[in-house]
């Protein structure tokens, strides 16, 4: 509860802070302080030290999994604000607005990690998405940003509509919004009415809408344009924290209800996984702009995260937390560096290692992590995903795992193109000014990635603490 209330309050505080000051640095520092408070508040809640006690009539339920995810999301946002905060406040005329919206989005994230009824799921998704529509269009004079915002908004509305329809059908079938207490199938048996197709159809609609939100193929078409058009700082936020929250919501519901989709559920899921991996990886190979490549790579990473749904066991819940953390940290770092580049194409990175050896080294660690090379957090993230699928399904899923690892090898191709540009090619690699604080932040994140990569219990122990 702490995270939900505090983030909403802090959002309001951010809004009013622009009345008091126009100074961008102060606003950034207020935001960082706010995120720290939010993180502490959530940690207090996690370890049951103190939390606001509001009876939500079981519409929200705060379990360790959700609270731990909140901490990861808030901590990632904190890292994001520290690294890219000075770039956030550069976008638009009213810098405080952006941070206010980020806090509101975090409020949505916190609801999504703790919802217990479909109504709350809907509210969480809306609270998280609406600030993002605005953030995407926050570069008001840029046509691409406007286009992306409109596209995102329309697609978002569309998928929310589908979500609502699905919720309605489920409500019709079971008579309440609770996500787990009523199993549609058992309900249909105990009552004299047979609702037949209602519940599975509703679930399928919700499933489709969630696929939209996490940009799983074939519902991914909005992703590249939106990610490319949005100001890079906000793409970074969308592609990491928001996406991971979408996955948490997805998994929370379908870890319980997947079976209700019937025996075909694993076929549907494996089709979507393969389609997502295929579209994300193959298209990313052909990109010329690093930013667009990252958009497609985020689709590809979503394909791996879907394995958590496939596995649906203790390994997958640990794994999705690890994946969220590993993926968020690495992507935030890569985007923070991308924002400093003057040229977003691969060639723009040529010779970066000579000019900024530390930045290039950190970027390499982040890219290796996304590619899933051992000794980085990304390896264990992928490891947990594959292991969770194999643990539940054994033999039958081996071919899917093999397909996934082959796509992971494809991903090496486009991630390493950046490394090649930085280290092996000659060039100018023009950047805006890079402060030593920024470098220090990058190094801390790179060390974090390697630490988790050597021993993931470094992170996961907190989960059981």
């Amino acid at each position: 509860m702490n995270a939900i209330i505090l983030s909403a309050l802090l959002g309001v505080v951010m809004m009013f802070s622009s009345i008091l000051t126009e100074n961008r640095t102060i606003i950034r520092n207020i935001a960082i302080a706010g995120l720290l408070i939010l993180l502490i508040g959530n940690l207090l809640n996690t370890y049951t030290v103190y939390s606001f006690n509001i009876d939500s009539h079981n519409m929200l339920r705060f379990d360790k999994f959700g609270l731990f995810f909140n901490s990861i999301a808030i901590a990632s946002t904190l890292l994001y604000a520290i690294l890219s905060g000075s770039d956030v406040v550069k976008v638009g005329n009213y810098p405080a607005e952006s941070f206010a919206l980020i806090f509101f989005a975090l409020c949505g994230v916190a609801i999504l990690s703790s919802y217990n009824t479909l109504l709350m799921l809907f509210l969480g998704i809306e609270i998280m998405s609406i600030p993002l529509y605005i953030l995407t269009g926050s570069d008001k004079k840029n046509l691409k940003s406007n286009e992306a915002s409109l596209k995102y908004f329309l697609m978002g509305c569309f998928s929310t509509g589908i979500l609502l329809m699905g919720i309605t059908l489920l409500y019709g079938a079971s008579g309440n919004f609770n996500i787990e207490s009523v199993h549609s199938t058992s309900n249909a048996v105990t009552t004299s009415y047979n609702y037949g197709i209602l519940a599975p159809l509703g679930l399928i609609l919700i499933f489709i809408s969630m696929c939209f939100k996490v940009s799983a193929a074939p519902f991914h078409f909005w992703t590249p344009d939106v990610y490319d058009g949005a100001p890079s700082v906000f793409t970074s936020f969308m592609a990491t924290i928001v996406k991971a929250a979408g996955f948490i919501a997805f998994i929370k519901l379908f870890s319980i209800r997947m079976a209700d989709l019937g025996p075909s559920s694993s076929i549907i899921l494996s089709t979507i996984i393969i389609a997502t991996l295929l579209v994300g990886n193959i298209t990313a190979v052909f990109q010329q702009s690093v930013k667009r490549m990252l958009a497609y790579s985020s689709i590809a990473q979503a394909g791996f995260m879907l394995f958590a749904l496939y596995g649906n066991n203790d390994l997958s819940s640990e794994g999705i937390l690890l994946y969220s953390a590993a993926y968020s940290i690495a992507t935030i770092g890569i985007f923070a560096i991308l924002i400093k580049m003057k040229d977003y194409t691969f060639d723009g990175y040529n010779g970066l290692a000579k000019k900024q050896p530390l930045v290039a080294a950190a970027n390499t660690v982040f890219l290796l992590s996304l590619a899933g090379i051992p000794l980085t957090a990304g390896f264990f993230a992928k490891y947990y995903m594959l292991a969770s699928a194999l643990k539940s399904n054994g033999h039958a899923v081996l071919w899917l795992v093999i397909v996934a690892v082959l796509f992971a090898a494809v991903s090496v191709y486009y991630y390493f193109r950046v490394i090649q540009a930085m280290y092996f090619k000659e060039g100018e690699a023009e950047t805006t000014e890079i402060s030593s604080k920024f470098k220090a932040g990058l190094v801390v994140m790179a060390i974090l990635i390697i630490l988790i990569g050597i021993n993931p219990s470094f992170l996961l122990n907190w989960f059981y603490f």
Binding site: L368, I373, P374, L375, Y383, L386, A387, L390, K391, G394, H395, L398, V401, I402, V405, L406, A408, A409, V412, Y413, F416, Q420, Y423, F424, K425, N455, P456, S457, L460
Partner: protein, 478 residues
């Protein structure tokens, strides 16, 4: 403690090397580090030669069933010895070469050594996978930064190839992990697995493709000649001398004992591919004009024989493979050293542009001839013992296979002697007219290698004794 030291010394000293700005300092520091590692290996062989010293076990990822467990058996000892010898030899023989940003170069070299050591001593499948990758990443950077003209594309091909292989292996390791009753990656648990034949036949290939790419076995060999040619010679020596042994080592340690039925089932087809590769590589080697490419193809041929002998799966063949792993490492490094001397001094690697070097560099000529004779496995050289045992093993498996594979010996003589002749004999040409003999450091290194070649050629028993326990474990587990 010995295996821990073998990993830690190169790892830590490698990390230090990155910060050494002075080229001299970086060189001497890494040479010193590699000599210390060699000393540790020797102390493990002769002084601390008991179980408590050669095994190490510490908690790493208890939740995943993986531990940081290392152990040194006979095969491990032999290959760590080879690794430990190779690095000082490489550093010393290329001491006069200069590299831009030499701190990073030597740092990456030492990291590679740490990875290689780890692969040879790991007694836990996940740990093995970690080291397998750790050995690959630094090599990728070494070749891409300091390599020849086409280095970026060539090295990338090499990286993607091996990475695909490792990922397939990872899938296989994960599958095996869930088959073990106690959910553990420990080598003991994997050895005691009894997989169904159907499972074995699938998982076997996941592992074998990874190892076949690394060795490389026909048709997975296409990355190899390009990479050997484009890499800086110091890296090529490590690649061909030690790194390809990772593939052979892994087959013996991780494949034969875990998938006995699949090995029996697929051995014929794999031997056929190995033999095709041997003949094919030998024929191409005859056509080569570039010394580096010639040695690269000759290396494919030799590795092919080792792979065939492994899958013949009998005692004599396995013994041959084990000692040949060591011998091939020594011989091929010797050949690379000569190639490097010629390239550094004369600026060309083309056989057609060379000639008459023996008149100018008699010492180098004598040393190369011994190395070349070892390459064609002449009696009294170390390679003869290994190849004889391997052919013997193959003969017991199938006479025809041995006969066809035997053609490669003749072909080896053709290309090797042809190379010696074109470089050293005949009249001097303009390039070689002002050549001088190899420098002292190179001469001494080559002399040491030649002594090893002859010594092991006359008296190979120590190597056979060293690896006896490994052979027993592999064959008993069947």
């Amino acid at each position: 403690m010995i295996p821990v030291l073998l990993i830690l010394i190169p790892l830590l000293s490698g990390l230090v090397t990155f910060f050494l700005k002075d080229e001299k300092a970086a060189k001497s520091w890494s040479l010193l580090s590699s000599v210390i590692t060699l000393a540790v290996v020797f102390s493990g062989l002769f002084i601390y030669d008991h179980n408590s010293e050669s095994n190490f076990n510490a908690a790493w990822l208890p939740a995943l069933g993986s531990s940081f467990s290392l152990s040194l058996d006979g095969m491990g000892k032999m290959l760590t010895l080879l690794t430990a010898i190779s690095f000082p030899v490489v550093f010393a023989s290329t001491y006069k070469n200069s590299y831009k940003e030499s701190g990073s170069f030597y740092g990456l070299m030492l990291l590679t050594q740490a990875g290689l050591m780890g692969v040879f001593v790991a007694a836990d499948a996940l740990l093995f996978y970690f080291f397998w990758e750790l050995a690959l990443i630094p090599v990728y950077f070494l070749c891409s930064i300091w390599g020849g003209e086409k280095r970026i594309a060539v090295t990338f091909k090499f990286f993607i190839y091996t990475f695909i292989g490792s990922l397939l292996m990872l899938a296989g390791i994960l599958y095996l992990y869930f088959q073990t009753p106690d959910h553990s990656f420990a080598i003991k648990s994997l050895y005691s697995l009894h997989l169904s034949v159907k499972d074995q036949n699938i998982i076997f290939w996941l592992f074998f493709i990874a190892f076949a790419i690394k060795m490389p076995i026909f048709p997975f060999h296409t990355w190899q000649p390009d990479t050997y040619e484009q890499s800086p010679t110091a890296v090529t020596m490590i690649l061909s001398g030690v790194m390809v042994k990772m593939g052979i080592f892994a087959v013996i340690r991780w494949l034969l004992p875990i998938f006995p039925d699949a090995v029996a089932h697929f051995s014929t087809i794999i031997i056929i591919f190995s033999i095709i590769g041997m003949i094919y590589a030998s024929l191409i080697a005859i056509q080569q004009d570039d010394i580096k490419r010639l040695i690269a193809y000759s290396s494919i041929a030799h590795i092919g024989l080792m792979c065939a002998a492994i899958f013949a799966h009998n005692r004599i063949g396995l013994e041959g493979v084990l000692i040949q792993m060591f011998n091939h490492g020594i011989n091929v490094i010797g050949l690379w050293i000569v190639a490097d001397v010629i390239e550094q001094q004369l600026g060309t690697r083309k056989l057609s542009e060379l000639g008459g070097l023996a008149q100018k560099a008699p010492v180098l000529a004598i040393l190369l001839v011994v190395m070349a004779l070892a390459n064609i496995a002449l009696p009294l050289t170390n390679a003869f013992v290994g190849e004889f045992l391997m052919f013997n093993g193959l003969f017991q498996y199938n006479v025809w296979f041995a006969a066809i594979a035997g053609i490669s010996i003749i072909l080896a003589a053709v290309y090797t002697l042809n190379m010696v002749q074109k470089i050293f004999y005949g009249n001097t040409v303009s390039i070689t007219a002002n050549a001088v003999d190899a420098k002292n450091n190179v001469q001494w290194i080559l002399i040491v290698l030649v002594v090893v070649v002859l010594l092991l050629g006359v008296y190979p028993q120590p190597l056979i004794n060293l690896t006896k326990d490994t052979v027993n474990i592999i064959l008993v587990n069947r």
